[in-house]
């Protein structure tokens, strides 16, 4: 199993380590709830070095990415970031990812750890006839996510770069302490914050320094990362989007540009749009006592109409809520559904997907 450069440090901080996507990662340090609240109210620091980084370089880089990516790469400016998908011909999702534009002939793709190898091979396969080099650079980078309302003020203490000029979904080379990093104003928590990429040693030093100098900064594990992204309806591959759930069904049409020219999977999505969606990801508020989890079946009377894709007792709301893939017309807001949990059926109501709003 792989370890990030911070492994020993996590153990020293008392983290509970688990296997995730082939890495030994911290699931929590003190408590998922406390870490969750730290990010919502102060700031949290995540080691996300397991994420994959793939470089696409070459004369045809822009044209190639527009062929494989759902969002409009040609319209990007340098230092901009776009969220979008790689799709199979049938509209199912290969992966969701961020594309960082360095210049017309150089892009950095940040992909899910569990999909890095798959994405890399898939990209190679699609690259026939394009003048591009595709490089799996995942082993070159370590990555931190500094997230929360205090993130900017904290990071500003470590650089002369005016961080307030770094806008949402842009990035730049930033000197932090005495090392160079790629810093982007992005995240997976619904809070303001940064994702920080650098070489292993530099990231290790920065992680320790940040925690040492900011007492209101908490180290956070994958447990809180999941509850945070869930509350604001950011999808997780294999749950809200997958090989069999399209971005349209997941409600991510804004990251799919149907008018930009051809891309892999476009025809299938076009067909889905013309025929109308048959199901959709919705939010659920659980009305009975209990918690529904991923995989629980959703019913209307005796009829199975969907399944839960993620479910928690939301730490921010202190209520049981869920995201679920539900057949139409039962996806309408206000609809009462029933969720099978072990031997019981819990009543639930369809609510908006973004379960938590500030």
């Amino acid at each position: 199993m792989k370890k990030t450069v911070l492994y020993d440090h996590h153990v020293k901080l008392g983290a509970k380590m688990v296997e995730f996507a082939g890495f030994e990662m911290p699931i929590q340090y003190s408590s998922i709830k406390e870490e969750h609240h730290a990010v919502r109210h102060d700031a949290g620091l995540f080691d996300v070095s397991h994420m994959g980084e793939i470089k696409v370089i070459g004369e045809d880089a822009t044209r190639f990415l527009d062929h494989v990516y759902t969002n409009n790469v040609n319209a990007m400016t340098a230092n901009q970031i776009l969220y979008g998908f790689f799709l199979y011909e049938n509209g199912g999702v290969v992966d969701d990812l961020l594309v960082y534009k360095v210049n017309d002939e150089h892009y950095l793709l940040v992909v899910n750890a569990s999909n890095t190898e798959k994405d890399y091979r898939w990209l190679l396969k699609q690259s026939d006839g394009f003048d591009v080099s595709i490089i799996n650079a995942s082993d070159e980078y370590s990555e931190l996510a500094l997230q929360g309302p205090k993130a900017e003020a904290m990071l500003q203490k470590h650089t002369d770069y005016a961080l307030d000029s770094l806008k949402f979904f842009t990035f730049d080379d930033v000197q932090l302490e005495n090392a160079e990093f790629l810093v982007s104003r992005t995240g997976y928590t619904g809070e303001d914050g940064f994702e920080i990429y650098g070489d292993h040693e530099a990231v290790k030093v920065l992680f320790k320094k940040l925690l040492l100098e900011h007492h209101d900064l908490k180290p956070c594990g994958l447990g809180a990362r999941d509850t945070l992204r869930f509350e604001v309806a950011l999808p997780l591959y294999g749950h809200e989007i997958s090989e069999t759930i399209t971005p349209l069904e997941a409600g991510y049409k804004f990251a799919v540009k149907m008018d930009k020219g051809d891309f892999i999977g476009k025809d299938a999505l076009q067909k889905q749009l013309e025929e109308g969606l048959t199901r959709r990801i919705v939010g659920l508020k659980i009305l009975d006592k209990g918690i529904v989890r991923e995989g629980a079946d959703v019913y209307v009377g005796d009829e199975k109409v969907g399944h839960v894709t993620t479910g928690y007792l939301s730490p921010s709301l202190n209520k049981a809520v869920a995201l679920a893939l539900v057949d139409k017309p039962h996806d309408k807001r206000g609809t009462e559904l029933s969720i099978n949990v072990r031997k019981r059926f819990l009543k639930a109501r369809v609510v908006k997907k973004k379960l938590y709003t500030k």
Binding site: I32, K289, L313
Partner: protein, 124 residues
Amino acid sequence: MKTPKELYYTESHEWVKIENGQAIFGITDFAQSELGEVVFVELPEESDEVTKGEEYATIESVKAASDINAPISGVIVEVNQELEDSPELINDDPYENWIVKIEIEDKSEVDDLLSAEDYEKLTK
């Protein structure tokens, strides 16, 4: 980790206290620490039958749901309703905060349980 001497234990990290011919069930310090913060306990009802080795309650942490098994068989005579509103009591003190009391069906099943000493070896 605390392991009170007067209790019996199972390999699946439940404890049993024998008192006035009845058995009281809970989960161990090790179990609560592994689970993390308990956010919900799905309790059985009085007069439900429980079977040795089978699930009788479910404890939910932030992350996941875990089945809690009956260490011995019997009929439930009392349920700790306090856990319904304050599930975190399990984390605060897993030995004080029991889950159910049962009327024991077969006293010889107690012999199959682990002593505190044996259980401690298991969790080392």
